[in-house]
């Protein structure tokens, strides 16, 4: 390796910089995982994510994505073994109306009212998505990442992200529309 090559390598985060990174991003990682797997699993995965990030910080290249993209990528990777559990929780939510991961929200308490039945429809539709598409949807909806950031996080082409998200949104829209039309016919 030449001196030039050494100079081009990104500087490795020191402990103070890493703790600052943790303080800045741990809530985003926790929130993203908690929506998918609940707070207890989220605590474990969030801690493991930053542990892994610290251990592999020498390979982090800021030019290939922001720190939060890096961390969400690690977290998404760690959630793979929980994929079946996630689907089950979504299906239980859809079937019983009680969110297994959080208590029921109180729609209408603030902001525009979103019928509880619609949330169940969303849960059911999400449960039928394949894992990779669900990753895209949650990174977009729960982590507020842009298409480019999702592509970086999942090492996908941006076109793939767009098409997966587009198909998923159509399915979710269709599920909610079906529910609304049923409610309309009941009134």
């Amino acid at each position: 390796m030449t001196d030039d090559a050494i100079d081009e390598r990104p500087r490795v985060l020191d402990s103070a910089e890493f703790v600052a990174l943790y303080d800045r991003h741990h809530r985003s990682v926790f929130s993203y995982v908690a929506r998918r797997l609940g707070p207890d699993v989220a605590e474990e995965i969030t801690a493991q994510t930053f542990t892994e990030a610290w251990a592999t910080r020498a390979r982090y290249d800021p030019e290939r994505g922001s720190p939060i993209v890096w961390c969400l990528g690690i977290a998404t990777n760690m959630m793979r073994k929980h994929a079946r559990s996630e689907v089950r929780q979504l299906r239980i939510y859809a079937a019983t109306g009680v969110d297994p991961l959080t208590p029921p929200t109180t729609p209408g308490a603030d902001g525009p009212a979103v019928a509880r039945e619609e949330l169940r429809s969303v849960a059911e539709a999400l449960s039928h998505l394949d894992r990779a598409t669900r990753d895209v949807v949650f990174l977009w909806a729960a982590a507020d990442l842009s298409y480019e950031e999702i592509a970086d996080t999942l090492s996908m082409r941006i076109g793939t992200v767009r098409s997966k998200l587009s198909r998923a949104r159509k399915k979710l829209d269709s599920a909610v529309d079906d529910r609304r039309s049923l409610e309309g016919s009941a009134e």
Partner: protein, 338 residues
């Protein structure tokens, strides 16, 4: 795209409370500090493991002390399993030997409760079909360790599936009083129907009275392949409704027995007492608290692995507060009264 439902779904995520945040920070900062003290270099030896510098879905995770390698665990798992089976056999044999060799005692412990005896009680209860114009009513309160905001939900469901739902945070004022429930359609079945409380009246009346068939029906609900604990949860929901026929109710308790719920103790949960039963699996301990006399559930809650068996520490919980036939009190479907 109507993003609101998905955004609202996102908004319902558990918030990070201070205690949990502090626990996580100590853990991560502790590891960082330990490596600093030990002057261990960062992992630069295996640069090609993640060539992009980012996590890849096809990249194995680092074998880190806090996250034991799944490969290593897999390699040790068979040995542990054999050891556990051998120990269990030895313990069982010792217990049987002790029972056969010891003299009968005057203080013989009383017989432990049996879910099948509750099934027998359920079978002998009178059937309570729903009268025309009446509603099945149920009130449950649910919460989780993370939220600290229990929510009470009241549901009125008529025989045709129409009805009302009313939810309120128990610590606050009523914020939503009602909405419509879609009617059940002739071409829908239990496995594909979304509805309040899990069951419409006609569903409840037509469920199998054979325990094995009922277990299969419950297991195919919500997309199928449900775990024993999830089937137990649905069975618990099933027996919480007044309109559930005695024979179906009886079969549901046999299902709870068949999937492996074991008696723990008589417990008080949220001020209500009952028999506490538990099913343990890899996801933790799943508790159901039952009133053996009425054969109604009192509560259902889950405790993750490594957490004490107290409801205050439960991941999530549901308390069944009331179930009966009740009018809607002047509220009509579609009318948002206050």
């Amino acid at each position: 795209m109507s993003d609101n439902p998905l955004k609202a779904f996102r908004a319902s995520a558990a918030e990070l409370d201070d205690e949990r945040a502090e626990r996580m920070r100590q853990r991560v900062v502790g590891i960082v500090a330990a490596e600093e003290i030990g002057t261990n270099p960062p992992d630069t030896a295996n640069q090609d493991r993640v060539s992009t510098g980012h996590a890849r879905l096809d990249t194995p995770l680092r074998d880190y002390p806090l996250a034991p390698s799944s490969t290593r665990r897999r390699s040790q798992a068979p040995a542990f399993a054999v050891l556990i089976v051998v120990l269990a056999l030895i313990a069982t044999a010792a217990l049987m030997l002790a029972r056969h060799t010891s003299a009968p005692s005057a203080d013989e412990p009383k017989r432990l409760p049996d879910l099948r005896s509750i099934a027998g009680t359920a079978d002998a209860l009178p059937d309570q079909p729903l009268a025309t114009g009446s509603y099945q009513y149920r009130r449950i309160t649910s919460g989780s360790q993370a939220s600290g905001r229990p929510v009470t939900e009241e549901v009125w469901v008529a025989a045709d599936g129409t009805g009302l739902v009313r939810t309120a945070e128990t610590s606050g004022t009523l914020s939503r009083s009602g909405t419509t429930v879609s009617p059940v359609h002739e071409d829908t079945d239990i496995a594909s129907t979304r509805h309040f409380g899990g069951w419409f009246y006609e569903d409840l009346r037509q469920l199998p009275t054979d325990a094995q068939k009922l277990r299969a029906t419950l297991g195919s609900t919500a997309g199928g392949n449900l775990s024993s604990a999830e089937i137990g949860r649905l069975a618990t929901d099933l027996v919480s409704w007044t309109a559930t026929p005695p024979a179906v109710r009886s079969a549901a308790f046999q299902v709870l027995s068949d999937v492996g719920f074991a008696y723990v103790d008589d417990a008080a949960v949220q001020g209500r007492t009952g028999q506490r039963w538990v099913l343990n699996d890899e996801a933790g301990a799943h508790f159901v608290v039952l009133d053996p006399a009425s054969t109604r559930p009192v509560a259902f809650y889950d405790v993750p692995p490594g957490v004490g068996p107290e409801i205050a520490n439960a991941t999530r919980w549901i308390v069944y507060e009331a179930a009966e036939y009740r009018p809607t009190g002047g509220m009509t479907a579609g009318h948002l009264g206050s």
